[in-house]
Amino acid sequence: MPDQLIFATEVFLNGLMAGVLYALVALGFVLIYKASGIFNYAQGVMALFAALTLVGIMKGQVPFAHLINAVFGTHVHYFGWNVPALVAIVLTMLVMVGLAWAVNEIVFKHLVNQEPILLFMATIGIAYFLEGIGDMMWGSEIKKLDVGLPQGINLWIDNVTYNAFGYGFFIDNLDIVATVVAAVLVFTLIVFAQYTKQGRAMRAVADDHQAALSVGISLNFIWVMVWSLAGFVALVAGIMWGTKSGVQFSLSLIALKALPVLMLGGFTSIPGAIVGGLIIGVGEKLFEFAIGPMVGGATENWFAYVLALVFLVFRPQGLFGEKIIERV
């Protein structure tokens, strides 16, 4: 095989893996958008917050340590214990459910039947609030997250490809884990949405709030459920990204990478989020590989958005989005 093609294949595979991570973030958006028509700007920050909380709990950090010390003149920082990863993940999930409940109780309960733009603005508010609270609770330094996921080059793939092509592919173990986790997550969510009573209720709420109310579906329950699910997806995304590049505040910006993914896949489609993520991941890596050197690189910053624009023009509902039903 010619060298160029071998490199391209490696780039392609790495693109797939990066795409999985985009898809994980996009998935959270889709869930909330599907059930409430809210574009949740805070999804990226939720991933950050989940990761921060996870690290904080694992290390036995005292929440709001700076605030407590400033007010009471104490010097507490750590409880002095370490929590096993699995327990910490469960505890973090509880925090995310609590967050979902609070967001609904404090904000969205009072905004029923309001304009989508208003709800969107509310999520921007939540995003910045959450970022601030995360900072206050756990501090703003970059943290290392290690929940015991395998990391580093996958030697088996390296060996196999070396024997086959005389060149070993570099595939990160973590990316493989992320792919498997994402696949399981998507499959579960699809089954949940399509075939369970609560999933059906969730889609019903997405279609028509009033009608859902009229058949006795509790909007509050569904919304807390959906935000909790989105919180869970955010936690998974936070673990993956956090393990890969450390838990830092720039994590909240990956939310913006999820936007083109959504435009490609469709805002309302769970499989769309995955396929969109993969296309963007592969597309931007291959584009950078093939065209990047000719235009001086850094195409990864804008490629996804250009692709999204093309989709907006020619297929506004995305690849898998629900057709906009219009009876004439």
Partner: protein, 274 residues
């Protein structure tokens, strides 16, 4: 058409309610009515008379539209239901079919029906049986069970909405404007189904309708609303014969078709009526 006699037992009783939207707009100014068990009660009146608001006050869908019952009481089986959330009311057996159908567009017809059973704890077998029951009343829905509701016709959507309500095993159905936007033949078909549901399944209906003619043929009793007040009520048979109702709502008068010259007297009498 024969009026099947409803029982004497009162299911729903509305006493002199006032409804205000957004804290300022007074929509109902003291509406009282009674719905006996097994009856079909018609709530008649023009646009903005307060029919929909009355129904929503009962089903408590008002809150999500920033409306509020500020005076009076609403009793169901002798129990005050004003502060109950819609899901509790559905469990009690009171469900509303909203004006304009409001099917879940992206769900299939069958999925729409299944959402109606949301509040029930019953097992799969029971729900399957009820699906069959709904399909027996609305055979058209069975043909279209796998289609997305948004792509079905207006009549089918109305059937879907009524069928969905039936899936909750309701005692009382609040039916809002079932004839809206439908061809006369379909209106007839839907009212016939309502009648047979009433006779065979013992379902009680409170229905809001602008189509006075059809509504009074199928109902036992009617209330006429104007400007948020009940201006007239009586057995459907009597209302049909009432000269004012005939003139203002059924478009018939002693002298045959009205000419434009009579409009002034029409206005005067209409004002007196309200």
């Amino acid at each position: 058409m024969l009026d099947s006699a409803p029982s004497d037992e009162t299911l729903l009783e509305i006493n002199n309610i006032e409804v205000i939207y957004n804290h300022v707009i007074l929509v109902l100014k003291g509406v009282s009515l009674k719905v006996p068990k097994g009856g079909i009660i018609a709530l008649l009146g023009g646009n903005g008379a307060g029919k929909t608001t009355t129904l929503k006050a009962v089903s408590n869908l008002l809150k999500s539209e920033r409306g509020e019952v500020t005076k009076g009481s609403i009793m169901y089986r002798g129990e005050g239901i004003q502060d109950m959330v819609p899901s509790d009311l559905v469990k009690m057996g009171v469900i509303q079919v909203m004006e304009g159908r409001h099917c879940f567009e992206h769900l299939t017809v069958e999925e729409n029906l299944l959402t109606g059973a949301y509040t029930r704890g019953s097992g799969k077998g029971d729900i399957e049986a009820d699906l069959d029951l709904v399909y027996s009343y609305f055979p058209r829905l069975k043909d279209r069970r796998r289609s997305q509701a948004g792509y079905t016709s207006g009549g089918e959507q109305q059937m879907c909405a009524i069928g969905r309500a039936l899936m909750s095993r309701p005692e009382t159905i609040l039916l809002d404007e079932p004839s809206m936007g439908l061809a006369p033949q379909l209106v007839e078909e839907i009212f016939n189904i309502v009648k047979s549901l009433n006779e065979n399944e013992g379902a009680t209906f409170l229905l809001a309708e602008q189509n006075t003619n059809v509504a009074l043929r199928f109902a036992n009793y009617g209330y006429i609303l104007e400007n948020g007040r009940v201006v007239m009520d009586g057995p459907a048979r009597d209302l049909r014969e009432n000269p004012d109702v005939k003139e203002f709502y059924l478009g018939m008068s002693e002298e045959g078709r009205k000419s434009f010259r009579d409009v002034r007297s029409y206005r005067r009498r209409k004002r007196w009526l309200s």
